[in-house]
Assembly symmetry: C2
Homo-oligomer: 203 residues x 2
């Protein structure tokens, strides 16, 4: 009756539209569950004020990004607003081998690609109650213009069509509730039987 002492990592993937609060929810989860690793994406876009190398992104030139991509260093890449983004393969693979839980926030296409590679990935869609709420949040925080907001709304509408491919849905109305729900999902996933059985790979 004794389960194996080790368990497989939870690979927690949180996607959702700009303005849904992904960054705040993930930051709060990482505070509450400091054991969880966070996968920092690589990007060719310039750092915004306050953004730090290795904390928010790995900032690289487009030339370097393309070299790394050619060398198979990314699990998935995407282009947004003229900048490239990639998920570092080695970090994900070594974290999963170690049995440590891992959270990341690729956009929807990236999430679906990662789910194909890692069927055990847990896909969480974070969104808000309505398009009006999303529009208002983007207006409140956007340093950009109406065109940028319209583009983000369009992306949000397109991405919401993929909700059916996700495992869980969180409606972010109050931050502390959304954080508790994400933590609940993590903790329930840790109890999955298949995850608790003897690991086939040694850590």
């Amino acid at each position: 009756m004794r389960p194996a002492p080790h368990r497989q990592s939870v690979l927690l993937i949180v996607s959702g539209p700009s303005g849904s609060g992904k960054d705040s929810v993930i930051a709060a989860l990482r505070n509450l569950e400091p054991h969880i690793a966070y996968c920092v994406s690589t990007t060719t876009r310039a750092p915004r004020p306050g953004e730090q190398e290795g904390i928010h992104y790995h900032f690289v030139t487009r030339e370097r990004f393309e070299q790394e991509n050619k060398a198979g260093k990314f699990l998935e890449t995407r282009e947004y607003a003229g900048n490239l983004y990639g998920t570092p393969r080695e970090f994900v693979e070594s974290t999963l081998r170690s049995g440590r839980d891992l959270v990341m926030k690729p956009e929807v296409n990236g999430a679906l690609k990662i789910k194909q590679m890692y069927p055990q990935a847990v896909l969480v869609f974070l969104t808000v109650r309505s398009e009006d709420v999303l529009q208002r949040r983007l207006e409140e925080r956007s340093a950009n213009g109406a065109d940028d907001i319209a583009a983000r709304m369009e992306t949000a509408r397109a991405e919401s069509k993929s909700i059916g491919a996700y495992d869980y849905l969180i409606i972010n109305e109050e931050l502390h509730v959304a954080v508790a729900q994400l933590r609940t999902i993590l903790k329930a996933e840790q109890l999955k039987v298949w995850r608790l059985r003897e690991m086939s790979q040694s850590p």
Copy 2:
């Protein structure tokens, strides 16, 4: 982006060996989550001191049980120590139609049968750390003799082979932890995307 206001019920099935603490864990969960319905089994065994009709079991004669069984009133039945037990079909079906969450504690074969009928059922296996712990718990509480304990240990060993068919595993070392884990599973399951999408049947 707005999800359907209704969601499908969580059908939570908790199985585990005698002595694993199923009754205490489920009672505590029902206190914390009073909205959850509990499926009372029907049995031909005599009530034990303190057991009430409709609360702990529906107590019926063997003749009545067999009539009801022939009339298709049970989702599944089993015989244990010369007594018949059955899960009332109508209660389960009407609760699921209403969208209310439902917990029940069939033994392992019953749980697997119910999972075949309701693939969305969430199967939780509750157990203890080791056979020694189980043996000690049975000795502490058993009004019965060594033969009864040996039979329950044998059943526990046989049933633990089915853990792989379960979704979640809880090791009950401290009651409040096991209760919190079961509640976590319930709350995570409530967030499953498929459950939140438009209900195909009206409530």
